[in-house]
């Protein structure tokens, strides 16, 4: 182009696992990226050509977009602080630890007229995106029964297993598939869930949960999550059965490459990716395009809040042992694939309601 727009100025908050895929994605777009983190900022900055900054105040001064990749319980406060300073926000899922906090963030972003993008990256995984397009085009007819599986070695950082901070496997891992279930089959009206956690003799923790969602459409979805033993490689799958056909995919059963080498990479908490074809890059590209062009992204703040709401209903079912009703997405602005969310005229009355 003759006159390139100035590069995006991005502030990464956090330097954990996800930062290692978000940072190169931003850099691939030519963004200037600053990073602030309690630990690890220097190393991350060196690896990806970022500018480490030692305080949040320093970060606010340098950036237009904030990308929050911290532990879950800190998401909402950091997002609200960024929004208060007029920054666009990318926030790792879950958008917040609670539905109330998630709604507060969504309302604040709307009032401030800034973009808010919860990083529901599975919507950008090519198999899921392709299947969703095919289902939307009617290829399998009316959706009847969906299955979503997701598993990996259990994360090792303590906060993941602290339900107050992370929401456990449901809010951290299965929220991906709760979002997928509603993406494919529409709003859920009821959930039933069960979970188990065990610690082996060596002190290693593992957890698993199952969720049944009954959708307003009459469809039913099953989500299955495992934070397993250290040898369990990441994999995920889906199976969408409609009254005219079936679509399925299992990342563990792909045969695009076969490798025999001395030191095969295996296991780990994140799926292996490279920057150019990474769904994390596709996600960041989509968010960046929405910020610069004003076009809607494939996931909205309202979608992020809805996913937290469904996940909290799931936790409630686990705690009570009973099926739990899920409130209907009463306000389209809080539940649909809204195009207005980011660029809406600030609506003061919603601010009051939200706070």
């Amino acid at each position: 182009m003759q006159s390139s727009p100035p590069p995006l100025r991005v502030g990464l908050i956090g330097a954990g696992s996800i930062s290692q895929v978000h940072a190169p994605a931003w850099r691939s777009l030519g963004a200037e990226v600053s990073v602030h983190s309690l630990t690890g900022a220097e190393a991350l900055a060196r690896a990806h050509g970022l500018s480490p900054v030692s305080t949040l105040d320093e970060l606010w001064d340098r950036v237009d977009v904030v990308d929050i990749v911290t532990p879950t319980h800190t998401h909402a406060d950091l997002a609200l602080a960024a929004i208060a300073r007029g920054k666009h926000v990318v926030c790792e899922k879950p958008l917040a630890r609670s539905t109330a906090a998630a709604h507060e963030v969504v309302s604040a972003a709307r009032s401030a007229g800034v973009h808010l993008f919860p990083a529901h990256v599975v919507r950008y995984f090519p198999a899921y995106a392709q299947a969703h397009a095919a289902v939307a085009a009617g290829r399998v007819g009316r959706v009847a029964v969906c299955r979503f599986r997701r598993m990996s070695a259990a994360p090792t950082a303590d906060w993941f297993f602290d339900e107050q901070r992370s929401g456990g496997i449901v809010l951290d891992q299965m929220i991906h598939d709760l979002d997928q279930a509603e993406w494919f089959a529409g709003p859920a009206v009821r959930v039933f869930a069960q979970s188990i956690a065990r610690t082996d003799d060596g002190g290693a923790r593992a957890a698993s949960a199952t969720v049944t969602l009954t959708h307003a459409s009459g469809a039913v979805s099953q989500c299955y999550g495992v934070w397993g033993h250290p040898h369990l490689p990441f994999s995920s799958s889906f199976h969408i059965a409609g009254d005219r056909g079936v679509l399925s995919h299992d990342s563990a059963r792909q045969d695009g490459t076969r490798v025999q080498v001395a030191d095969p990479r295996s296991g780990g908490y994140l799926p292996p990716t490279d920057v150019a074809s990474s769904p994390y890059t596709a996600e960041i590209v989509d968010f960046a395009a929405a910020i610069t062009s004003g076009q809607p992204a494939n996931v909205t703040g309202a979608d992020g809040a809805r996913a937290v709401l469904v996940a909290e209903a799931v936790l409630s079912s686990i705690h009570t042992g009973e099926p739990v009703e899920v409130p209907a997405p009463a306000d389209a602005r809080l539940a649909g694939d809204t195009e207005e969310a980011a660029d809406a005229v600030p609506a003061p009355e919603r601010t009051e309601e939200g706070r």
Binding site: D200, A206, T210, A219, Y224, V226, H229, D243
Partner: protein, 336 residues
């Protein structure tokens, strides 16, 4: 080898064909057959079915039992199992009964009791139990390779039985739809694998798949099971395979523990291809029906208890009936 007279009662179930083929060629077995129940459209039954396989056929159950068979295989419609099994055990025959053992818990319990009273063996026909893949899974779990079990994910999906043997979709004859047809296989594998009866069940069903068929049964079924040790299971028993698929369906079971994981797909062994009409699926897995009947015949000859037995059939049916109650009420229900 002890010579056995074996009666095959009814050709209603799909498996009657493979049972008849195996038994008619098994060494030391004198097979006699009869059929009961109403033939469904497009389904070869009765003397004509027997003739097509070269089977000796007698006109009714009384005539078959008058021959004093050592053992009887019941492959009737689900709702007829109790009556036929009770007649067979009253005649002193050991019985292998097609799955599900019955359509109600009361019937299943009565059948188990009747066999006990008569002093004969009762076995439930769960062929997947005899797959080498499942044997390997059980072996590894018992050896502790998976550590403590956390959860199990199971699928048993197939085509809705409509073109032939449509009694499977008539609740009065089958006892229900996709729940009763397919949950029992997974329930049996879990029964053997975990070694404890299920504690509680939740199920949601719907009728979106094949709603065009207009049958009064569920076609989609999502089941959750909890075991007393805390192990959780998620099962999909939907009739979700379209008629265009090149095979009948399949079953998968995946187990995750604190030290290891294992997934089995006992019906995966196949050669794939295409012909002018579409996809080809040529199975080459072992004959599970043969292995299962082999277990039954060996138990009859030696007098030992066959597995899975009648009690297993009753315990696993109880998961289905609990799922049916849960689907009807929306509640989590205890397993009887």
């Amino acid at each position: 080898m002890k010579q056995l007279r074996v009666g095959l009662v009814s050709f209603a179930h799909t498996h009657a064909t493979s049972y008849a083929r195996y038994l008619s060629g098994a060494p030391g077995v004198d097979l006699v057959t009869t059929d009961v129940g109403e033939a469904d459209p497009g389904t070869l039954r009765g003397a004509a079915f027997a003739e097509s396989l070269g089977l000796r056929y007698v006109p009714d159950v009384a005539a078959l039992l008058a021959e004093r068979p050592d053992a009887v295989v019941v492959a009737a419609e689900n709702a007829d199992h109790r009556d036929l099994v009770e007649q067979a055990v009253a005649a002193g025959a050991h019985v292998l009964c097609e799955k599900p053992l019955a359509t109600t818990d009361a019937d299943a319990d009565a059948m188990v009791h009747a066999a006990q009273e008569a002093g004969v063996l009762l076995m439930t026909a769960y062929p997947v139990r005899f797959s080498p893949e499942f044997a390997e899974l059980v072996g590894r779990v018992r050896e502790g390779q998976l550590g403590q079990i956390l959860s199990v994910h199971g699928t048993n999906n197939g085509k809705m039985p409509l073109a032939e043997r449509s009694w499977f979709t008539d609740p009065a004859r089958s006892g229900g739809g996709a729940l009763v047809d397919h949950v029992v296989h997974l329930a049996d594998l879990l029964d053997e694998l975990l070694g404890e009866p299920a504690a509680q069940v939740h199920a949601v069903t719907n009728r979106i798949l094949r709603s065009d068929a207009g049958r009064d049964v569920e076609t989609g079924a999502a089941v959750s099971v909890r075991y007393p040790s805390g192990v959780i299971a998620q099962l999909d028993s939907s009739w979700s395979l379209p008629d265009s698929a090149p095979t009948w369906g399949g079953l998968t079971l995946e187990v995750h523990g604190t030290a290891g994981s294992m997934r089995i797909d006992p019906f995966d062994a196949h050669v794939a291809g295409y012909d002018a009409e579409g996809a080809l699926w040529e199975s080459f897995g072992p004959d599970l029906d043969a292995a299962m009947i082999g277990e039954f015949l060996d138990a009859v000859r030696t007098g030992r208890r066959p597995q899975p037995d009648g009690e297993t059939g009753a315990r696993t049916l109880a998961i289905v009936t609990a799922a049916q109650r849960s689907a009807a009420t929306g509640q989590v229900v205890p397993v009887h």
